[in-house]
């Protein structure tokens, strides 16, 4: 067991280092984009056709004239302890985790993110469970019934799933189920706490679209993994013990075949939590993906930075969770 703790500590250190690097890269965006477009952040913040005075007061308030390392230090400090912005006349406080204020509506970036987060969370949580269960189940059945009609049909469908873009499947679903047949009309986001049933009904089509995409991939991976595992020597050993075929499959084959899926699942989920841009746009959902595109189109630099950092955090964190989980499922990782 000390092995496991050491392992987790090593991973945690890696996470901190990674986040530090990501934060620096993200911070660089803040300066690179304006220098590429030729507009200073202060001008962007001050709004359309600002007077030189307004620009100046913005520069003072947000410390944009400080050296870049100092600005970075303040930025990091803000994340942990919050930040006071002050230019004498105009004061504002940004509580931790402070990612600055949106250029567009002067709201703390953190609030922008957290207000759009429930949509993203709902999308990711529901879809990931659906695709994980259906993808692996189909993959296992396909492998066990290799070359059967089921296998061929499932793999054909999976090929369609991985190759069709989400806006295509999403629009087809919307067109048929929502508009034509009126089974799930007027898809819009309803908070889970407001009405769980309505929440699920409205999320169903986005979930199905994402599931079609991801489950296809998972089915193919699981099938390949199962086929490989079933030809392993240790499966032969399990049979040689006189175990029933169902025990050989569940306790011996599945255990090994599903382990790599853990990794991929964690990473996919982490990525999805950083925003599902196409899905959100297809279904008119306002989540993190929508927020990021919106911010980019308006050159809302603090929001771009905030969302990037946030998405990166989910990916890095998902990596950590996956690594730790892996140590629990694969003893070879734990003891090396």
């Amino acid at each position: 067991m000390p092995n496991v703790i050491q392992y987790i500590i090593r991973r945690l250190i890696l996470v901190v280092v990674l986040m530090w690097i990501v934060s620096m890269v993200t911070f660089a965006i803040f300066f690179l984009i304006p220098s590429a477009t030729g507009t200073s952040p202060a001008v962007l913040f001050a709004g359309k056709a600002p007077t030189p005075d307004t620009v100046k007061s913005v520069e003072i308030k947000f410390g944009l004239k400080d050296s870049i390392p100092v600005q970075y230090a303040h930025f990091v400090e803000g994340i942990f302890v919050g930040r006071h912005f002050d230019n004498g006349a105009d004061k504002s406080y940004c509580p931790p985790p402070c990612l600055g204020f949106s250029f567009v509506n002067n709201q703390p970036v953190w609030n922008e993110i957290t207000s759009d987060l429930p949509v993203t969370l709902s999308l990711a949580a529901g879809a990931s469970i659906m695709w994980l269960v259906s993808g692996t189940a189909i993959g296992v059945l396909s492998a066990l019934k290799r070359r059967s009609f089921f296998d061929r049909a499932a793999m054909g469908l999976a090929l369609a799933g991985v190759s069709l873009p989400i806006y295509f499947t999403g629009l087809v679903l919307l067109d048929l189920i929502s508009y034509n047949w009126q089974i799930l009309p007027n898809v819009h986001y309803v908070g889970f706490t407001d009405n769980p049933l309505s929440w699920a009904r409205n999320m169903l089509l986005p979930w199905i679209s994402l599931t079609f995409l991801y489950a296809a991939l998972y089915a193919r991976l699981t099938r390949a993994g199962m086929l490989e595992t079933m030809s392993e020597d240790y499966i032969r050993t399990a049979r040689a013990k006189g175990l029933s075929e169902s025990r050989v499959i569940t306790r011996h084959a599945l255990r090994a075949a599903l382990t790599p899926i853990v990794t991929i699942f964690g990473l996919d989920l982490g990525q999805l939590l950083g925003g599902a841009i196409l899905t959100e746009y297809t279904f008119g959902l306002i989540g993190i993906g929508h927020l990021s595109i919106d911010a980019i189109s308006r050159q809302d630099l603090p929001v771009i930075m905030g969302v990037t950092l946030f998405a990166a955090f989910f990916i890095v964190f998902a990596n950590l969770v996956v690594d730790v989980l892996y140590a629990f499922v694969d003893p070879r990782v734990r003891y090396s």
Binding site: D233, Y234, R236, R239, A240, H252, R332
Partner: protein, 350 residues
């Protein structure tokens, strides 16, 4: 009490009796005749060695006895009697019930044959619990006892180790412990010592012999190592291209071998009694593809004495015929001719 030298080798009363076993695989390239008309038998308390070059069908034979072939592409015919019960036509469930209990197997490569995600103890307990209605605690006690029996130090601690935490020799011992968990009456060991150094090899073989004496089990030993054969086996089957070329007692095979292929194998081991663990590569050329086994004698393209057969070797498959009590040879050469060649030309080289 029958002496092995006198009993008929294909005894209908033998504990394990394999008759005209054929195991063919349908593949994309054609029908692979991995085992093609093989017969032998083993008594309780006796050891039979199966020797032959790589690809001669040794592993397929042993897996076939346990019923571990893929029903989808394997075609199996012939008969396998284990303690009087026929296995080839038996229901898969009936064979499964015997597997791991009445007959068990030690596999060629212990690292890949053990499940990487489960502890050694768990895997042994599982083997024991399938066939015995016991509690987890009892199974664990049994696993520890077995590990102690096969010479694993501190078995009560090592029982919770994973396979990759064991050394090669320990894994092989664990594998043996697992296959012995239900006191099998037939133990098939497929190259149980290939990957091990000489000292560990000797220990493992001693162990198998001890256990055999204790439980009076029948052992089938598959090996490339003729030294091991000489030490451990009572009878020997010399296999080539899925068939028996020669079959007899250890002394038949080592002191009066009659088949040119056996001579080749023996010649590969210079100083039989001292040098061990040499792979057999003495005979010129390669074994035939099992998809296109040449008609007639499967060995004729590599046989030095091919010319003495008058063309028969190319068209007619030599039957496995008794040349002495319990000694069978599949060769067209007349018995006296074979004995003369061995005495005058071969024995001096060995």
């Amino acid at each position: 009490m029958t002496d092995i030298h006198e009993r008929p080798a294909l005894s209908p009363t033998a504990f394990l009796d394999v008759r005209d076993l054929r195991i063919h695989f349908a593949t994309d390239d054609g029908l692979v005749r991995a085992v093609d008309g093989l017969s032998f038998s083993v008594e309780r308390g006796k050891s039979l060695a199966i020797v032959g070059e790589s690809g001669s069908g040794k592993s397929v034979t042993s897996l076939g006895i346990l019923g571990l072939y893929n029903k989808r592409n394997a075609r199996v015919s012939g008969q396998i009697f284990l303690d009087g019960q026929e296995l080839v036509d038996a229901s898969p469930d009936a064979v499964r019930a015997l597997r791991g209990q009445k007959m068990s197997m030690i596999f060629q490569d212990p690292l890949s044959s053990l499940h990487p995600y489960y502890t050694i103890g768990w895997q042994i307990e599982e083997a024991y619990r399938v066939h015995n209605n016991v509690s987890k605690a009892e199974a664990r006690t049994r696993a520890i006892e077995l590990l102690r029996r096969v010479g694993i130090p501190q078995p009560d601690k090592r029982v919770d180790d994973y396979p990759h935490q064991f050394s090669g020799g320990m894994r092989q011992r664990a594998m043996i412990a697992m296959s012995l968990s239900c006191n099998p009456e037939l133990l098939i060991a497929d190259e149980p010592t290939t990957a091990l150094d000489v000292t560990v090899q000797a220990q493992i073989l001693d162990l198998m012999q001890d256990l055999q004496q204790e439980y009076n089990s029948a052992i089938i030993l598959i090996t490339h190592d003729l030294g091991v054969v000489a030490e451990l086996a009572d009878d020997v089957v010399v296999m080539y291209a899925g068939r028996a070329m020669e079959y007899g007692t250890v002394s038949d095979i080592f002191y009066s071998p009659e088949h040119p292929y056996t001579w080749g194998l023996l010649a590969s081991v210079t100083r039989l009694d001292r040098e061990r663990s040499e792979r057999l590569q003495p005979i010129p050329g390669n074994p035939p593809s099992l998809i296109n086994v040449p008609p007639g004698c499967p060995f004729h393209r590599r046989c030095r004495y091919e010319a003495l057969n008058g063309g028969k070797q190319r068209v007619e498959r030599p039957a496995l015929e008794e040349s002495g009590p319990g000694h069978y040879v599949a060769c067209h050469l007349p018995v006296e001719e074979r004995r003369r060649i061995f005495r005058d030309e071969v024995a001096t080289l060995l």
